[in-house]
């Protein structure tokens, strides 16, 4: 694969890998166990441009392309998927929609501090009664003079515990159904903006995923993205990029699991030989390596299409579906190859296994992805 990439992308991978191996690897297991968000590393990442990967330099970003973005997310996730999640969600479903749908004034207000990592972004769509069915949200924004009065109960907000700039999906026209949904930007610290308790998650534990409530929270009308009624369109556009990021994240986790499995299989002896000599182990290694490679190609293809300004929505959905299913299978095999030790916290594969599982759930479940892909295939 590496030979097919541009020099820029190879250099980027090496640089991100060196940074993550030095800064994140020593603490990855610990921040998972303690469910601690590592600000000390996040600040360094902010200074290096990780929070504005595709944002133009004029707005404080790194000005890189989508393939670079995918590689960066993959490499961070190879070491700490929870931090990969933080960077992915911030870049793709928080910063990107503001860039794509915001007015110049909104871009100038929010993007530079977000791109420098001085502020963290979040995407607040899911509610207790609306997950896969985004059109079923109940949050409301009632217009009152030059403000919206927002009432919302958002759950499972990635970065929620630390986010400053939150994209809130809410109904501005309760009578208009799916066409009555809009996105308003709410900032932490506003009266009525309440951060809930952290979710006690199975994986991705270093990410402060939590609920966010807005209780009669007054947000300036100028915080509306684009116009009223296009909320779901903004959401779907954001998720096209977001899914590519989740695909890249799944590839990174799977790659890490593959590397650990190979290392262990070489060193563990049973029946007088390293277990890598047993054909059953070799079969798993072959399937793992093939799956990771295919998933990576699909993610990079979606990114390359985006860089060429070609349609990439279907390819992004396929990449996310395949990469996340691959990551859960590959991490499962890595646990299997480790035997009992794979089920113990003495080895990192149990963390990969827990982290991989959610990639099939968030930013659209595998089931929803299959619906989306089937629809697009059948309509072709």
């Amino acid at each position: 694969m590496e030979m097919l990439l541009e020099e820029k992308h190879r250099t980027l991978r090496q640089s991100v890998r060196r940074f993550c191996d030095r800064e994140l690897r020593p603490i990855a297991a610990q921040i998972d166990q303690e469910a601690r968000f590592p600000w000390e590393v996040i600040e360094k990442m902010g200074a290096l441009g990780y929070f504005g990967i595709q944002v133009p330099k004029t707005l404080g970003g790194a000005g890189l392309d989508a393939v670079s973005y995918a590689i960066a997310i993959e490499e961070i996730s190879r070491v700490s998927a929870a931090i990969g999640l933080c960077v992915s969600v911030h870049n793709s479903v928080a910063v990107y929609p503001i860039m794509a749908f915001g007015s110049q004034a909104q871009i100038d207000q929010w993007v530079p501090p977000l791109a420098r990592g001085e502020k963290i972004g979040a995407f607040c769509l899911t509610e207790p009664n609306a997950g896969s069915d985004a059109g079923g949200i109940e949050a409301t924004a009632r217009s009152d003079g030059d403000t919206y009065v927002v009432n919302a109960n958002k759950v499972f907000v990635t970065n929620g515990g630390i986010a400053d700039v939150c994209l809130i999906f809410c109904r501005t026209d309760p009578a208009a159904g799916r066409r009555g949904i809009s996105v308003v930007v709410a900032e932490r610290g506003t009266d009525g903006f309440v951060v809930g308790d952290l979710e006690d998650l199975c994986g991705m534990r270093a990410n402060p995923v939590c609920s966010i409530r807005l209780n009669d929270c007054r947000v300036p009308r100028t915080n509306l993205l684009a116009r009223e009624g296009v909320g779901l369109k903004i959401g779907l556009a954001a998720l096209d990029t977001g899914r590519m990021g989740i695909g890249a994240q799944a590839v990174g986790i799977a790659q890490a699991a593959l590397e650990e499995a190979v290392r262990y299989a070489r060193q563990r002896q049973q029946f007088g030989v390293p277990i890598e000599r047993h054909q059953a182990i070799q079969t798993m290694i072959a399937d793992m390596a093939t799956g990771v490679d295919a998933a990576r190609l699909m993610v990079y293809r979606a990114a390359a299409l985006k860089d060429r300004r070609l349609p990439f929505s279907k390819e992004s959905a396929m990449a996310k579906l395949f990469a996340s299913e691959t990551a859960t299978r590959v991490t499962d095999m890595a646990v299997q190859i480790h035997g009992g030790y794979g089920y113990s916290k003495s080895y990192p594969v149990e963390r990969y296994y827990r982290d991989a599982r959610v990639t099939r759930i968030y930013e659209g479940t595998s089931e929803i992805h299959r619906m989306v892909i089937a629809k697009s295939v059948l309509e072709e």
Binding site: E2, M3, E6, E7, K8, R10, T11, L12, Q14, S15, R18, F19, A47, L48, G49, Y50, I53, K57, G61, A62, G63, L64, S68, A72
Partner: protein, 256 residues
């Protein structure tokens, strides 16, 4: 102040002992990173610019761009088929010619050695070719402008030197923690900044001064060393095992 840092694209992997200088198997020599860091810190303190120079094949381009991403202002690749097979002497002949081409300069920095050949000779030989003062293994550099105060640690002593400029230094790997390239720096280095390529003719060299022709070194043979390892079991309780181990190590002159 104009600082030139000589860097090398080293081979990171030689499958089955065969060296292929392919961009995905090459990286910026880790011992050059502290030298570049020192140059950038001096530039930040005293102003001026940092040029990175390498002699190498076209694939060394990526290494120069990485140095640009880290913060160098100008990147120069001395690349010519006639350079193939250069030993350390021919390399320093070529580098000194390129340095003269880039003159005026105040300081030339080198890493202390390279990951893939590890002679440590190129820096000092280049300084001799240029007829400028050189200190190896520098850990602290001060005293600008005009002259230079350099500290160097050897054999438990701290030596301090004063040098006239221009001068050359090899930088001790522990002297500065190299910075990471910013992601925006990577974008700029690959999308916006140029790498200048020089041929040996442009720097005033003749093909017989460099490459195989200019290299007095002749490698007679090279083969991997097979180490014979034996395993000895030490028996007894943990305490007597430890005593036994210590005694054997003392007897072998390895500790004590």
């Amino acid at each position: 102040m104009h600082i030139i840092v000589c860097i090398k694209s080293v081979v990171t992997d030689a499958p089955r002992g065969k060296i292929v200088r392919r961009a995905d198997k090459c990286a910026l020599n880790p011992f050059d990173r502290p030298a570049l860091e020192v140059a950038l810190q001096l530039k930040e303190k005293h102003g001026g610019s940092v040029t990175v120079l390498t002699m190498g094949p076209p694939s060394a381009n990526a290494t120069l761009r990485e140095a640009l991403a880290i913060g160098a202002h100008r990147a120069v690749l001395l690349c010519d088929p006639a350079l193939a097979g250069s030993d350390t002497l021919a390399t320093s002949t070529a580098l000194s010619a390129a340095v003269n081409y880039l003159a005026p300069f105040d300081l030339i920095l080198f890493g202390s050695r390279t990951l893939d050949s590890d002679t440590g000779q190129v820096g000092p030989q280049t300084a001799v070719r240029l007829d400028i003062p050189m200190v190896t293994g520098a850990v602290k550099i001060d005293g600008f402008p005009g002259h230079l105060t350099v500290e160097r640690k050897v054999d438990g002593f701290l030596e301090t030197y004063e040098l006239d400029l221009p001068a050359a230094l090899t930088i001790h790997p522990a002297s500065a923690a190299p910075r990471d390239p910013a992601l925006g720096g990577i974008a700029a280095a690959f999308d916006e900044m140029p790498v200048e390529t020089l041929s040996i003719g442009q720097v005033g060299l003749d093909p017989n001064q460099v490459g195989d022709a200019g290299s007095p070194t002749r490698v007679l043979s090279m083969k991997p060393v097979k180490k014979k390892r034996t395993c000895q079991w030490i028996q007894g309780t943990p305490a007597t095992q430890a005593d036994d181990l210590v005694r054997q190590l003392v007897d072998a002159g390895l500790i004590g």
